[in-house]
Every structure is written in structure tokens, then in C-alpha cells.
């Protein structure tokens, strides 16, 4: 195993640990937005898709990369929008509810 692979493993384990500490504090109230948020965030695999689609290495890579870019973009755009739409609905009692148009 190379030194870089070891560092990557450290990053993975520590990020998972941070994730565990943060996510166990998320109340059940927000579990649905949590899931759509993590889904949007993990669409960061778009970064890998962009390289596959744009590096012009071979036709297979370009086409598969193109489909992957499309799929990941759906999650980036749709994921953040729907998370925001849900979070927008959660209001406290002491603030008067917004008048519906």
C-alpha cells in the first residue's frame, strides 16, 4: 500500500467519524432533509464524472462520463433545491405563520 492510499484511508475514517458525531445530533424532526442533504452532498461524485467526460481519453470514458455528469447534476440541482424547500417549511410557533398567497 502506498503512502497516499494510507492518507486517503485516514481521511475516510476521520470524515466518517465527524459524520457520526454530527449526524447523531440531528433531531428526528429533520431526518428527511438530512437524507436529501447528504444525497445532494454525495453528488460531489460529479467531480469524478466531469474528468471522465472531459479528459478525451477514449469514447467509452466520454460517453459514460457524460451520462454520469447528467445523473450527478440531477442530484446536485434537485437535491439542494428540495432540501431548501423542506427546510423553508419548518417554522416556530412564536413567529406568525406566513400568509399563503
Amino acid at each position: 500500500m502506498t503512502g497516499i492510499a494510507i492518507i486517503e484511508l485516514y481521511v475516510f475514517v476521520l470524515a466518517g467519524f465527524v459524520g457520526y458525531l454530527v449526524i447523531t445530533k440531528v433531531p428526528p424532526l429533520l431526518h428527511t432533509p438530512l437524507m436529501s442533504a447528504t444525497n445532494a452532498i454525495s453528488a460531489i461524485s460529479l467531480v469524478g464524472s466531469l474528468v471522465a467526460a472531459g479528459a478525451d481519453r477514449n469514447r467509452v470514458s466520454t460517453i459514460l462520463g457524460f451520462v454520469a455528469v447528467t445523473a450527478a447534476t440531477i442530484n446536485v440541482v434537485g437535491g439542494f433545491l428540495i432540501t431548501d424547500r423542506m427546510l423553508k417549511m419548518f417554522k416556530r410557533e412564536d413567529r406568525p405563520p406566513q400568509v399563503k398567497p
Binding site: T2, A5, V11, F12, V13, A15, G16, G19, V22, I23, K25, P27, P28, L29, L30, T32, M35, T38, N39, A40, S42, I44, S45, L46, V47, G48, S49, L50, V51, A52, A53, G54, A55, V60, S61, T62, L64, G65, F66, V67, V69, T70, A71, A72, T73, I74, N75, V76, V77, G78, G79, F80, L81, I82, D84, M86, L87, F90, R92, P97
Partner: protein
């Protein structure tokens, strides 16, 4: 490191920090929106950083993908109704896993045409495509079952578990062989196909009511596939985001499985969802239920000081959230107070019921989770159960022979009066009689939840 390299790494680092802060903001409902906006900004940074990567030499396919993805993603974000959230999330797990799987295949193909793949990279690619492919098909099945174009009933056949385990073992065997001998494209693609098949078969025997666990598990797998992508292409932000997603899905599946009284091992091996076949040990012979008229129910509610509403999936199916809110407003106008007791598995995915009630403009500080509200039932004048069954069944506490014994439930039976709104006397998904319905202080209000609530609202106004 060139300045360009430095810039790219800086955007990735910023994105990683913003992602973690975004998730941290979700620990409180206030400020969560701003935190998620920052996370979205982090995503934008990472995309810009990638686009200036010197490896990228052509932008035609990238622009096409970004455009098509935006055109599809925009309506999926803005126009999908909140009741359809579980299937919406299921299909997005499929998209995420699809991206990871395809990148993995492209990476393998490219490396093979440039002198082969090394063992460690093969391990990363293998995880990527195995987790990815089974999440693609598993999530598609979950989507189909929730959207109901695939039967929501568990599909079982003899030898199912043996076949599934065999299939998974074969996939892993090929994977292990490939790590030692990566230069076998045929085996690599066979592994992808086997994993895809395994995903289908894994979710096939799982019923609609168990979907919260499946969705959470797929959330975790999609995250792990993303993390594996990061290992394969040596990108830390992917590893971090994937680890966060993987951890989140894992935690949610544990919470869900506890709330459903299933062991986690049971879930990991996919042998769940067959509880519907268990026979009831208690029968209702000799017991009678007390139906209540709308008028009497209205009087009880109009004079109640403390009301606890217990919403179940039946409420969501009837789309009666807004009627509940109207009724609660009237109770509050009469000087009573109303709280909502939310069981972790109320709805079809973690937290689903909270979103549905928040959409009906119910303030979130009235939505109480199980541990928080269970002590308050003894003080409640009326507990109004709407379309919930197993999660309020006292058998979970006091009948060791019951299939749901040990499952955490809402202590509705401790309230002074209980009104249960229900379509009919059919048993819940676990097929168990609910002795709460035969309790002397329980009254049954039969009929469609929305229609009954509308009538109740009109009636309470007249009291």
C-alpha cells in the same frame, strides 16, 4: 504544486469544510437553510475547481450533461409533492450510485487500455462498482414499490435467501480474484452485472412498510460508492462527502431498524420484510369496539385541555394534514393545547411525517419525538390517533408472544380518552390485533380520515 493545482485543492478543501458545516446546521431547524446554502456554495466551488483541471480538454459533453441534468433536476427539486418524498429520495440514490458506477467503469476501461490496473486501485474500483450497481438496482426497486408501479407486497419464493447469498458470495469471489488479477475485463463486467442483479433481488422480498430501512441503507451504500470513487481517482473531497453520506445512512438505518424492532444483522442480510406472514396470537373474539359519532368526538375535543395527535401513514395517504391543522387551531382557540406525537417510523422514510405536518403550517416546536412526548400521555385528555396502528399497540409492551413485542411505541393507552380514526377494523401491516381498540376508554371513529376530520372541524365550530 502549480498555482492551478493549489487553487483546485483549495476549492476542494473549502467544499469539504462547507459540507460538514452544512450538515452541522441541520442539528437545529433555525439556521439550517443558511447552512445548506453554504454547502451548495461549497459544491459550486468544487465544480469550478474541477473545470479548470488541466486534464479536462473538451467541454462539449460536460456542458451537455450539466444542462440536461439541470433540466431534469430542477423540477425534481421544486415540484415533487412532499407526500412523494420517499420515492423522490429513492430515485436520487439511484442517480448518485449510477454516476459513481459509470465513473468506475470508465476508469477501469481507460486504465486497462493504458497498461492495466494496480491491485489497490482495483480494490477501490471494485467497491465503487459493487456498491454502486447494487444501489442503482436496489433503489430503482424501492422507487418502483413506493411509486407503486411494482407491487409493494413482499415477493418471496423458495430458496430465495440461499440464492441471494450465493449471488452475493459469487460477486465477492470475483472481486477478490480481480484484486489479485485485475487484468480480466470480462470478469469485471460480470461482477457489475451480478451486483446489479443482486440489488434487484435484495429489495424484491421487502414490503412497502419496510421501505424506511431500505431507503436509509441505500443512502449509505450510495455514499460508500462515492467514497470509493474518491479512493479510485485519488480525490479527498469525494472521500469526505462519501464518508459523511455513508455514516448518515448507516445511522438512520440503525434508528429505523430499532424503531421497527428488527435487528440490524437481519437488515444487512436482507432477510427482512416477511413479518407480514406472522399469525396473530390474540384474537378479537368476545371483544367489542365502541364506535363514536362525529358529534360526540367534537364535544370531547372542544372541551379538552391537552390533546395529543398521533399521526400515522394513514393520515398521509388520506392527505389530511391541513384538516388536522384546522382542527388543532379550533382546539387552541377554545383554550386547549395540541401536540403531535411522531413515531420514528410514521411515514415511509425517516422524518417523513414531520415534513408533511410542517408543510401544513404546523409549527415544528409542536412536533414531539417519541421519547419526549411519551411521559405526557398520562396528562392528555384526548389522544387522537389518525391512521396509525402498530406504533400504538400496547402488545409491544405487555405481550411477549406478539411479533412486535419490544418495539418502542407511543403510550397512547395511558391517555384519559383515546379516539382512533380508522378506515375499518383491518389489522396493521404486521397483521396483529390491537388491544388498544378494545380498551374501554377508546372510541373508534370509522371512515376516511380526511372526510371525518372535515366533519369534525365543522362540528367543533358549532359546539
Amino acid at each position: 504544486m502549480t498555482p492551478r493545482e493549489l487553487f483546485i485543492q483549495a476549492t476542494y478543501l473549502a467544499a469539504s469544510v462547507l459540507f460538514i458545516l452544512g450538515l452541522k446546521s441541520l442539528t437545529r431547524a433555525d439556521g439550517a437553510r443558511r447552512g445548506m446554502n453554504q454547502a451548495a456554495f461549497g459544491m459550486l466551488l468544487a465544480i469550478v475547481g474541477t473545470l479548470v483541471n488541466h486534464e479536462i480538454v473538451r467541454y462539449d459533453w460536460i456542458i451537455a450533461g450539466l444542462l440536461i441534468g439541470t433540466v431534469i433536476g430542477y423540477p425534481l427539486g421544486l415540484f415533487v409533492p412532499m407526500t412523494a418524498m420517499p420515492q423522490r429520495i429513492a430515485i436520487s440514490h439511484m442517480f448518485g450510485a449510477l454516476a459513481a458506477t459509470l465513473v468506475g467503469i470508465a476508469e477501469y476501461y481507460t486504465s486497462m487500455s493504458h497498461g492495466g490496473v494496480e491491485g489497490p486501485k482495483m480494490a477501490a474500483l471494485g467497491f465503487e462498482v459493487v456498491f454502486g450497481a447494487l444501489t442503482v438496482s436496489g433503489s430503482f426497486m424501492a422507487f418502483g414499490k413506493l411509486q407503486e408501479f411494482i407491487s409493494g407486497r413482499p415477493v418471496t419464493y423458495p430458496g430465495q435467501n440461499v440464492m441471494n447469498i450465493g449471488l452475493f458470495a459469487a460477486t465477492l469471489a470475483i472481486f477478490a480474484f480481480l484484486i489479485a488479477n485485475p487484468g480480466h475485463p470480462f470478469l469485471f463486467y460480470t461482477m457489475v452485472v451480478l451486483s446489479l442483479t443482486f440489488g434487484f433481488l435484495l429489495v424484491l422480498p421487502i414490503g412497502g412498510a419496510d421501505m424506511p430501512v431500505v431507503i436509509s441503507l441505500m443512502n449509505s451504500y450510495a455514499g460508500l460508492a462515492s467514497a470509493a470513487t474518491g479512493f479510485a481517482i485519488g480525490n479527498n473531497v469525494l472521500i469526505i462527502a462519501g464518508a459523511l453520506d455513508g455514516a448518515s445512512g448507516f445511522i438512520l438505518s440503525i434508528i429505523m431498524s430499532k424503531a421497527m424492532n428488527r435487528s440490524f444483522g437481519n437488515i444487512l442480510f436482507g432477510a427482512f420484510g416477511s413479518a407480514g406472514g406472522l399469525a396473530s396470537t390474540k384474537t378479537a373474539t368476545g371483544l367489542t369496539v365502541r364506535p363514536i359519532s362525529i358529534e360526540d368526538a367534537a364535544i370531547q375535543l372542544a372541551y379538552a385541555q391537552h390533546v395529543i395527535v398521533v399521526p400515522g401513514y394513514g393520515l398521509a395517504v388520506a392527505q389530511a394534514q391541513h384538516q388536522v391543522r384546522e382542527l388543532a387551531d379550533l382546539v387552541e382557540k377554545n383554550g386547549g393545547d395540541v401536540k403531535y406525537a411522531i413515531h420514528p417510523v410514521a411515514g415511509r422514510m425517516p422524518g417523513h411525517m414531520n415534513v408533511l405536518l410542517a408543510e401544513a403550517n404546523i409549527p415544528y416546536d409542536k412536533l414531539k419525538e417519541m421519547e419526549e412526548i411519551n411521559g405526557a400521555f398520562t396528562n392528555a385528555d384526548v389522544a387522537l390517533v389518525i391512521g396509525a396502528n402498530d406504533v400504538v399497540n400496547p402488545a409491544a409492551r405487555n405481550d411477549p408472544s406478539s411479533p412486535i413485542y419490544g418495539m418502542p411505541i407511543l403510550n397512547v393507552d395511558q391517555a384519559k380518552h383515546v379516539i382512533v380514526m380508522k378506515r375499518s377494523m383491518n389489522t396493521g401491516f404486521a397483521g396483529i390485533e390491537n388491544e388498544l381498540f378494545y380498551d374501554p376508554k377508546t372510541s373508534m371513529l370509522f371512515g376516511d380520515a380526511k372526510a371525518s376530520l372535515t366533519k369534525l372541524v365543522a362540528e367543533v365550530k358549532n359546539v
